[in-house]
């Protein structure tokens, strides 16, 4: 029985990892006042870029680097449309998701063709934190990226609450006029936030392809980007709560996987999969008018 719980916790951490990266990335964007619906496409793009470079060069680290750069580029593109041009953020974000997904698929086909066996690459190895612990062992045998994800939470919190850059991001997301009056470059701050966000989201996707799977499949992201959008609201835009939310979602997902194989339950596993989404809608309804996030989100800033 203990094996069940140990396995569950270990799996939860693993499943939560891409959610943490994606949500933290979106956090930076939204805190700066931009709703980035390009997240689903950016994660997909990160998964593809990471995999492709890792496979071609044989070095997963280079793949990771490529994913980060690709994500930053995606962020830059979003910034161009939503900040510089000031177009509707919902539609431009969706456009970027569509575009990045299409680009990834295009290049995948171009580079790898249509093989019968999906191409694979040597994935990252798991790293054992404390050597082979007798009982709790599996929990501490995670991918490096998972440990990094957990560390990123306090780092992100530190950046947002304890640096001038973070203060600027928050100011720009709440009241860009006040920030402008204080001498802060609103455009530049938003550009940077979007690039950082894009890079993080991308790593979330790359984790799935170069760590967990060692391969790239078309369904690799499967709506995780949208989960992150929901998670941010759940977490009330606070980094520490992001971890909580990601673990919760991850836990439910890991749970239903286990329930399928170990215990016979009457409820279909899709019920558990859908549960976090339903929970988010309920949370949104309860929060009501308070779940609006940074005050200047969705409003492009134009200096009078």
């Amino acid at each position: 029985m203990e094996i069940f719980w140990i396995g569950l916790i270990a799996a939860t951490l693993r499943v939560a990892t891409p959610l943490v990266y994606g949500t933290l990335g979106e956090l930076f964007c939204e805190r700066a006042g931009v709703l980035n619906l390009g997240i689903e496409g950016t994660m997909f793009f990160g998964a593809f870029t990471g995999f492709a470079v890792a496979k071609i060069t044989g070095n997963p680290w280079l793949g990771l680097l490529a994913a980060v750069l690709g994500g930053m580029l995606a962020g830059l593109l979003m910034a161009f449309f939503s900040v510089r041009l000031g177009v509707n953020q919902h539609v431009s974000g969706l456009g970027i998701t569509l575009l990045l997904q299409a680009v990834s698929l295009f290049f995948f086909r171009l580079i790898f063709g249509e093989p019968t066996i999906p191409p694979s690459t040597e994935p990252f190895q798991r790293v054992s934190l404390f050597g082979n612990l007798p009982v709790l062992g599996p929990i501490f045998e995670q991918y490096l990226l998972t440990y990094v994800a957990i560390l990123l939470i306090p780092i992100a919190a530190w950046v947002i609450y304890r640096t001038n850059f973070g203060l600027n991001i928050r100011a720009v997301g709440e009241n860009p006029e006040a920030a402008d009056a204080a001498g802060i470059n609103v455009y530049r701050t938003r550009y940077l936030a979007l690039m950082i966000g894009g890079g993080l989201m991308s790593v979330g996707g790359a984790f799935l392809s170069i760590a967990q799977l060692g391969a790239f499949t078309f369904g690799i992201i499967a709506g995780r980007g949208w989960v992150c959008i929901a998670l941010i609201i759940f977490a009330n835009w606070i980094p520490s709560r992001v971890l909580l939310g990601a673990l919760l979602f991850g836990g439910i997902f890991a749970l239903q996987l286990r329930l399928q194989t170990t215990i016979v339950v009457d409820l279909p596993y899709e019920f558990f999969l859908a549960l976090p989404y339903v929970a988010t809608i309920v949370a949104l309804a309860i929060a009501g008018r308070n779940a609006t996030g940074p005050a200047a989100m969705l409003k492009p800033y134009k200096r009078e």
Binding site: V87, A102, R109, L284
Partner: protein, 351 residues
């Protein structure tokens, strides 16, 4: 020397309809880079995209087949966006309609075809309305952002579909995750023999016409447009913003549901989980490209259908991955968005 200056003054009226054309041109220019990377000739590629599909009967009809669900989701998105309601959930509402069609379909064997089809359409519409209801209510009563809620509903219905197809509706014989076949009387008849073009296409054109009619000919439509273009002023002039948005959201959901019926009853005759490769999202592309003008959206939807068909031709003939079509769609959306800004500017000669 001709010196020009960009002034922040509204552009001449004739410029507006030109924008989609300029956007298409710019998109093709940008995406030709990818064609070159795929070691093909851009001009040939675009020939294959735009001309080849129309050059023979089979593929010309196929573009209309591909255009059918796009016309419907395009119409659905248009009426919502025009009222200021950001319905990103057309994909999910489509699936809701498909579920309704798959459920009703097998039960209608004893009805005459006309009745059966009407029941299917009504059922799909209602299912779409119901699926759009929760986000719409949350928006008008609690001001909850409809973008997030409609996106979440999209994901939830996929789980429901998966459950149904892998559980109670799974084909007992083959084990495939597909629902029981719908009754013959519930199938949408073909418009043209030996093609896949079915009555759904007529329904789709009808819906575009209906949306056009509502928005431009009815009083309620004027109130919808006022709400979408100037909420505060509309309220000042006495328009009930909440009610208007709610209606727009529900009608939008219903029309998207019809797209699901169209695919189940006209093409596949079962429910499968891949019934929509993103028609709901492509509807947003069509709505944007068409500038939220139903006629324009209709043309845009058919254009996207053309591109989808053409992409396959490009792939077959030139070996360029078929996903070029999707890239064109995404690029087109972004370029169009950017270009619509141009209607706020006018080029003036500097003396």
């Amino acid at each position: 020397m001709l010196k020009l200056k960009l002034e922040r003054v509204p552009a001449p009226v004739w410029f507006r309809p030109l924008i989609p054309l300029l956007a298409i041109l710019a998109t093709f220019l940008i995406t030709s880079i990818l064609v070159v990377l795929a070691k093909a000739n851009p001009l040939e590629a675009y020939y294959n995209f735009l001309v080849t599909p129309l050059s023979n009967r089979v593929s010309a009809l196929e573009t209309l087949v591909k255009g059918t669900p796009l016309l419907l989701t395009g119409a659905a998105v248009t009426i919502a966006f025009a009222s200021g309601y950001w319905n990103i959930g057309a994909e999910g509402q489509l699936y809701a309609g498909a579920v309704a069609a798959a459920w009703l379909g097998p039960l209608l064997g004893n009805f005459p075809p006309v009745v059966a089809i009407l029941i299917m359409l009504a059922g799909g519409f209602i299912a779409g309305v119901l699926w759009a209801l929760i986000p719409a209510l949350l928006k008008v009563t609690l001001a909850v952002d409809e973008v997030v809620t409609t996106l979440l509903m999209n994901s939830i219905i996929m789980f429901i579909v998966s459950f149904l197809l892998n559980g109670p509706w799974r084909d007992p014989v083959s084990g495939w995750p597909q629902s029981p076949q719908i009754a013959a009387s519930a199938m949408l008849p073909k418009l043209v023999p030996r093609s896949r073009l079915h009555v759904g296409f007529i329904v789709a054109l009808l819906m575009i016409a209906v949306v056009w009619f509502i928005l431009s000919r009815t009083s309620f439509g004027l109130r919808m447009r006022a709400t979408g273009l100037g909420k505060e002023a509309a309220q000042f002039m006495g328009v009930n913003i909440s009610f208007t948005m709610l209606m727009a959201a529900l009608i939008s959901g219903g029309i998207a549901g019809l797209a699901g019926v169209s695919e189940v009853a006209g093409i596949h005759f079962h429910l499968i989980d891949a019934i929509s490769p993103g028609y709901g999202y492509s509807g947003i592309v069509a709505a944007t490209l068409g500038g939220l003008n139903p006629i324009g959206v209709g043309l845009a939807a058919l254009f996207i259908g053309l591109i989808d068909t053409g992409a396959q031709s490009v792939s077959r003939a030139l070996g360029v991955p078929v996903f070029l079509g999707n890239i064109v769609q995404g690029t087109l959306l972004l370029v169009t968005l950017g270009m619509f800004l141009l209607q706020n500017y006018r080029l003036r000669r500097v003396k």
